[in-house]
């Protein structure tokens, strides 16, 4: 009996020892050398693997940073300026100038402004509705309200408002990764330069129809009347196909365009309430 025990112990130990030697030899022989800085850089990154840096995943971005001589074109929107500076410090390079961006929904067609003219039945996703027909209203450009943009956000930054049925962006959480932009079949979400105090001014409409046609479908549609274009002294507004567009790079947030817009298509967000001028 004790013989069996001894044999067992010897054999198992021998197998263990041989395996250990073989495994060690193999791990040394087939080792792939990686720059240890890649692991360190990856540890600094937010690990969201969202792809908005343009690379397939945080590790690929870390590899690109380590391999780069110049970091001016490399930027992680999720991590922001802090992360890029930490990575730059690690690698002994200069971080590029970081331009934060935030997502904005270019549509304000709630049920109040844009009446429902048909009833949809089927799979409740925006992509299904938009490929079937123009949607439950008379505006073929507007938000469909089924929220395809919501589940793609990894940062919990966009939610569907249950009353208006339009998605709303949480400015604090949004870091401009762009996942919601790709998810919208109508291309209604845009990444715009982040202004101080999260203030925004933008034309909440993408309707290219003629003025009266657009207004009939939605009372806050942009008619292309050009009043905003005329009043902007900074040249930030351009008119194309019955639609106004405000360039966020040139906009100074003066709000003159908001006050002249007759159909209330230009939205201002996070501004203090206007002082009411007393007429003398």
């Amino acid at each position: 009996m004790s013989e069996t025990l001894i044999y067992t112990i010897v054999v198992i130990s021998a197998i263990g020892a041989v395996s250990a030697v073989v495994l060690y030899w193999v791990s040394q022989k087939f080792q792939v050398y990686t720059d240890p800085r890649i692991d360190e850089a990856e540890a600094l990154l937010p690990a969201s693997n969202c792809g908005s840096c343009g690379f397939p995943g945080c590790r690929a971005f870390a590899e690109a940073c380590v391999a780069a001589e110049n970091m001016s074109n490399l930027s992680c929107p999720v991590g922001g300026a802090e992360t890029m500076q930490a990575v730059a410090r690690l690698l002994g390079l200069e971080a590029g100038h970081f331009k934060p961006r935030t997502a904005v929904l270019r549509c304000n067609g709630t049920c109040e402004y844009r009446p429902k003219t048909s009833n949809y039945q089927g799979v409740k996703t925006c992509i299904a509705v938009s490929s079937l027909y123009r949607g439950e209203t008379d505006c073929q450009y507007g938000c469909l309200g089924y929220g395809d943009c919501v589940p793609v956000c990894q940062f919990d930054a966009i939610h569907l408002n249950p009353v208006t049925h339009l998605p709303e962006v949480d400015d604090v959480k949004c870091n401009g990764c762009g996942a919601c932009v790709d998810a919208c079949p109508r291309l209604l979400i845009e990444l715009r330069r982040q202004m101080p105090k999260h203030r925004k001014i933008f034309v909440a409409c993408r309707n290219q129809d003629e003025g009266l046609v657009a207004l009939k479908a939605c009372s806050v549609a942009c008619t292309g009347c050009s009043k905003c274009f005329e009043v902007c002294t900074f040249g930030a507004i351009e008119m194309q196909k019955n639609l106004a567009y405000i360039d966020a790079e040139k906009c100074t947030l003066c709000r003159k365009c908001v006050s002249v817009c007759e159909s209330n298509s230009i939205l201002e967000m996070n501004f203090p309430a206007r002082k009411i001028k007393n007429e003398a």
Binding site: S118, Q121, V123, I127, A128, S131, L132, Y133, R134
Partner: protein, 447 residues
């Protein structure tokens, strides 16, 4: 009892609902204005050659085909071109259309009112079909002259004429076969001449015995044309299924019917070919079935292309109060529309007004793996699996399971005991895969 031919895989049996069977074709009174979209066919839009203010005659060319796959568009009434602008079509999206306000009904000089029967050469026939802007009138609207140009390396030996009309409610083709049988047979002969075949089979579902009988008698005068009765099963009228039923040949996925030596044309298209060749008459009118369970006077109408469909609905007694859906085409593959100011187009075979009680979808339940969808699929695919893969976003597996072979006939959704939206998800999968592949091609082309 003779066993009727039919296709091998799958198939379902929706009720026939042929409320308008036997109702003679009525000519609808001419509309006050017509709207002619520049795309009424598969392929590139036609280029408009008239301008606002021009006077046109019935049958004159107003938009010329442009591109390899395209078709001419002709004025369907005489009058003045009042607008050339984007108007809403059946999809709800806008499309460039030519609007003509009617003045009388003067036909273009090139059109003759009586048929001229002579021995046309195949090239003459093809040229006339091309000029007349004839497209497949069974619903796919593929330009006929392109279809008849057989690609290099393929040889056609049989022409099939599709008189099946398997969709419930529709009877336009049935009536046409009863009333214009002789002309259809002559059109068949013309098509046989173009293709250089000596054999044509007209397939008709067995629920149209009068049409089978009448065409059978008439076809005795014609060499090489036979009539076959087919078992009633949806989708018997689908091109690939019809070819399998009548000839036993299976068209490989992604290939043309010509690759197995067959060409299929709808009876209405064949009739239009006859009119085009013998009278130089372009495709400007067609038979449309307007029907529905609550419709007062359902019927089959000969209507000019471009007529707004609300005029057709007025002609059957107006829209019933309880209408829930307006379907263009048949209930299995037709599309619903949300407004009635859209025009009749070349491929519109019917308008079905579905009452509220039948318009709502049932709530869907979980899949019980009963395999009814697999049994019903005419392409022998696995719909339950494709829906599951699409729901999970597994596009590569969906493509491996041949989701792109699906012809969207609707048999799976129809037969599912859990009322699952199988076809909806398959469509989402197909369009997503198309987009992924086209994006890939674009980025490959760049690099």
């Amino acid at each position: 009892m003779k066993i009727l031919k039919t296709f091998r895989f799958g198939g379902i049996h929706p009720g026939a609902e042929k409320l308008t069977a036997g109702r003679t074709i009525r000519v609808l009174s001419l509309p006050e204005k017509v709207i002619l979209p520049v795309v009424q066919h598969a392929g590139s839009p036609a280029a408009v050659i008239v301008k606002v203010g021009d006077r046109v005659k019935t049958g004159s060319l107003i938009a010329r085909m442009s591109g390899a796959v395209s078709a001419n568009i002709h004025a369907s009434v005489s009058g003045i071109v009042t607008k050339i602008e984007e108007t809403v079509d059946a999809s709800g999206y806008k499309i460039n259309s030519v609007q003509i306000t009617r003045e009388g009904d003067d036909w273009d000089d090139s059109v003759s009112l009586t048929p001229v029967i002579k021995d046309f050469t195949p090239q003459e026939i093809l040229q006339k079909i091309k000029e007349a802007g004839i497209v497949g009138m069974g619903g796919a609207s593929f330009p006929t002259h392109v279809k008849l140009e057989i690609p290099e390396g393929m040889k056609v030996d049989t022409l099939l004429i599709n008189g099946v009309e398997c969709e419930p409610y529709l009877t336009a083709d049935h009536q046409l076969m009863l009333e214009k049988g002789e002309e259809i047979l002559q059109g068949t002969q013309l098509l046989m001449k173009v293709l250089g075949v000596d054999r044509a089979i007209i397939g008709i579902e067995v629920n149209k015995p009068d049409a089978i009988h009448s065409l059978n008698n008439l076809s005795k005068k014609y060499v090489g044309i036979t009539v076959e009765a087919l078992a009633m099963k949806y989708p018997q009228g689908s091109e690939k299924q019809l070819i399998q039923a009548l000839t036993g040949r299976q068209v490989p996925p992604g290939a043309l019917p010509a690759s197995v030596g067959v060409l299929v044309n709808n009876v209405a298209t064949t009739y239009a070919v006859y009119e085009a060749v013998t009278k130089n008459k372009p495709l400007i009118e067609r038979v449309v079935t307007v029907t529905g369970k609550s419709v007062k006077l359902p019927g089959n109408f000969l209507v000019r292309i471009g007529t707004p469909i609300n005029e057709l609905i007025e002609a059957v007694g107006g829209m019933p109060e309880n209408t829930g859906k307006v379907v263009i085409g048949g209930p299995m593959m037709g599309r619903t529309v949300a407004n009635l100011h859209i025009p009749v187009t070349k491929g519109m075979s019917g308008i079905v007004l579905i009452p509220d009680s039948e318009a709502s979808r049932q709530t869907d339940l979980p899949c019980i793996r009963c395999a009814k969808c697999v049994e019903g699929c005419p392409m022998n695919l696995e719909p339950y699996l494709m829906m599951q893969l699409v729901e999970k976003g597994m596009w590569d597996l969906a493509e491996e399971n041949h989701i792109t072979d699906c012809m969207e006939c609707g048999s799976c959704s129809f037969t599912c005991p859990s009322a699952r939206p199988i076809l909806d998800n398959i469509r989402i999968g197909k369009s997503k895969i198309r987009k992924i592949r086209s994006d890939q091609q674009k980025s490959n082309a760049k690099s």
